[in-house]
């Protein structure tokens, strides 16, 4: 199993009446709600929490990309990842990911991911999302019905840039480059493992299968509602005649642990409510630009993953959110049982653990994270013994890695330096 500690980085100061007084948490969110001075502590606390997860033995620390978004103040995940590459030791740096249709030219992603892989010593997991309609179309102005074509070209260009050892010309529809020759290039060969976040687009299943990429379903509605979508994926895997390694798939799940189920509710319910009621308040007009999803995907009946459950989240109590699996919360034993159900039910080897929720303060987050790492994670380690050697979807770091802060405390004296660099007679 691979457990990645994930932080969406929500803005924790949305007002109580946010839903009533704002149309959307995303795209046209009120500028005045962001306080740059307060963000200084918010960013640093969030990065500290990611670093803390590394010390507890999580397999990865995860970041993602959103724009103009009140629950994701990370328009550039690579900036956070650069900090993590320096300040973490063993965890994979899971960037899930860069919306590659938005970068001009996408060679920029090949370069920045290569830098992250080099700085981290080969610990990068590279995510290539198409990007939500809110981010890609409404914030960044990509034409909805051409987004996938542009994404595909960006992907092909990045992989070629990573794997070609001499300069080449790229005559694409969206990118014309006479001299592609990225410098640096990644440590991991032929390139870092690739994870593709998807929301039920059937074309994405084949794309992952064809390229041996892991398919990640990043949902906020929990594992019970994900069953139908993941069944569709595994059915396709079977049809294509490839193996059903659980590491072909990943799933994001909100997880909150306390000593008892009651304590979990007492400690965390207000933060869960903040997330589901304020952070997911997205104006439906931004959810799905016409042409963004393919006809085939719409015809499968899959709703946009940002479509709220019938009645909306506002109606859902803590009891319903936990019982329906939107949130897995409770004592270590409760969480272990439900995680087992999730892992077996969806056949997923990569879990993106959403362990910071809404406006949760750092102390509660550390408490829950530590309990999960110490009392739950060890019991879930060996869920797929048949696949324990399957490393196709995870990192291959250098054996000997340097860490930040390895310089001597003081600069050498002149005498010491002369001695070190003495000319042999």
């Amino acid at each position: 199993m691979k457990f990645t500690w994930f932080n969406l980085m929500p803005w924790p100061y949305l007002p109580d009446d946010f839903r009533e007084t704002n149309r959307s948490v995303w795209v046209d969110i009120d500028q005045k709600l962001f306080d740059p001075a307060k963000s200084h502590a918010v960013y640093n606390t969030y990065m500290d929490l990611l670093e803390y997860a590394d010390t507890l033995g999580f397999d990865g620390v995860g970041v993602n990309e959103h724009h103009q978004n009140g629950y994701g103040i990370m328009p550039s995940p690579n900036i956070i990842a650069a900090g993590l590459a320096r300040r973490t030791k063993d965890a994979a740096v899971v960037v899930l990911g860069n919306s590659i249709a938005l970068y001009n030219p996408p060679v920029r992603v090949a370069e920045e991911f290569a830098m992250l892989d080099c700085i981290s010593g080969g610990r990068l997991v590279a995510g290539f999302p198409v990007g939500t309609s809110m981010d890609t179309n409404y914030c960044y102005g990509q034409i909805p019905s051409l987004t996938r074509e542009k994404y595909q070209e960006a992907h092909d260009l990045i992989i070629k840039a990573w794997t070609t050892r001499e300069p080449f010309a790229w005559n694409g529809r969206y990118n014309k480059l006479r001299h592609v020759n990225i410098w640096p290039r990644p440590i991991q060969q032929p390139h870092p493992p690739v994870h593709i976040p998807g929301g039920g687009s059937v074309e994405t299943y084949d794309f992952c299968i064809d390229n041996t990429y892991s398919y990640s379903y990043l949902s906020f509605s929990g594992y019970l509602r994900a069953q139908a979508l993941m069944n569709g994926y595994w059915k396709r895997v079977e049809e294509r005649g490839v193996d059903k390694s659980p590491y072909r798939a990943g799933f994001a799940q909100t997880i909150l642990v306390a000593e008892t189920d009651e304590e979990a509710e007492r400690l965390y319910s207000e933060h869960v409510s903040y997330f589901y009621n304020r952070c997911l308040h997205v104006y439906p007009g931004f959810a799905d630009a016409p042409g963004y999803r393919t006809i085939k995907t719409i015809q499968t009946g899959a709703l946009s993953q940002y479509a709220p459950p019938t009645g909306g989240y506002t109606q859902l109590t803590w009891k319903e959110l936990t019982e329906q699996g939107h949130v897995i919360a409770g004592s270590p034993e409760t969480v272990r049982q439900r995680m087992e159900d999730l892992i077996k039910g969806l056949n997923v080897g990569n879990i993106f653990c959403l362990m910071h929720v809404g406006n949760m303060p750092a102390d509660k987050c550390m408490y829950s994270t530590r309990l999960f790492a110490e009392k739950v994670m060890p019991k879930l380690r060996n869920m797929f013994p048949d696949w324990s050697d399957d490393n196709r979807f995870w990192t291959t770091p250098l054996k000997d890695r340097v860490t930040s802060g390895s310089l001597p405390k003081q600069a050498p004296s002149r005498e010491e330096l002369m001695k070190t660099y003495a000319v042999e007679a």
């Binding site: 034409i143 909805p144 019905s145």
Partner: protein, 258 residues
């Protein structure tokens, strides 16, 4: 109007045809067009009307190769040619007006009469056009019609909104039609027409509904200024869907072109 098919390079194109008189080509807006369109009926009294559907509209095949403004413009010229028409009266509404203006700008010697009905294609920072692509269905009538209530009835006419398949059909239609329209209208409905429209030589009439809330009437002046000798006809008690709200007045304005 009859629905027929003509072959072009990219796809078989569906077109509505009817009426008698001089040839007239009508290019529909982003919402598409039906055989029952009242303006086509009006125009059919005096003209032989051809209204081709943009690929992906109605039951027509999609044409993924048509991506940008030049593709739309040349494709529509291909349609005119495939229909065997020479110098038809060229009429376009909204997105269709944008395409018609581009056609007249790239082949100025082939268009002598042009009618632009609330055309898209220009942008004025002081009067930003509403984001049609972020507008919910229930918000459409107020945005598109002078009389929102009557407009809502026209938009839902003939559709059974209680049908469980309605939502999926609606989403598919929207993805096909507005997905295609988005190629020249998203996220800002401007693709450089202002730098090309000086090339238009056609006798031009610009038609605008006085209470157009999608593309406000102030845009009419941009077109009037940019096209030599263009005449402006303002139509009262009409919004952006002036074609549905005041079809007779629009047909009369087009009639001025002879």
């Amino acid at each position: 109007m009859d629905l027929k098919t003509v072959q072009t390079t990219y796809a078989p194109v569906r077109y509505l045809v009817g009426g008698s008189g001089p040839d007239l080509v009508y290019l529909h807006g982003a919402g598409g067009i039906t055989a029952e369109d009242p303006l086509l009926a009006e125009l059919g009294r005096t003209h032989r009307v051809y209204a081709p559907l943009i690929p992906g509209y109605g039951d027509s095949e999609e044409a993924p190769e048509i991506r940008d403004m030049l593709d739309f413009t040349l494709h529509t010229w291909d349609v005119v040619q495939a229909l065997g028409l020479k110098d038809p009266v060229l009429v376009g509404h909204s997105m269709g007006g944008m395409i018609a203006a581009e056609m007249a700008a790239v082949q100025p010697n082939d268009v002598s009469r042009l009618a632009l009905i609330a055309p898209a294609g220009l942008w004025d920072d002081d009067h930003p056009i509403a984001d049609l692509f972020a507008t919910m269905p229930y918000e459409m009538p107020a945005l598109l019609f002078h009389d929102a209530e009557a407009g809502a009835a026209m938009l839902t006419a003939g559709r059974d909104v209680t049908d469980p398949n309605f939502l999926q059909t609606y989403l598919v239609t929207n993805a096909r039609q507005l997905g295609m329209a988005g190629r020249i209208l998203f996220p800002v409905p401007e693709r450089g027409l202002s730098t090309r429209m000086h090339r238009i030589r056609a006798r031009t009439v610009i038609v605008w509904g006085d209470s157009d809330k999608l593309i406000p009437p102030v845009y009419a002046h941009g077109f009037k200024k940019g096209i030599l000798g263009a005449e402006l006809v303002s139509i009262p008690e009409a919004g952006h869907m002036v074609t549905l709200e005041q079809p007779k007045a629009v047909a009369d304005a087009i009639g001025r072109l002879g």
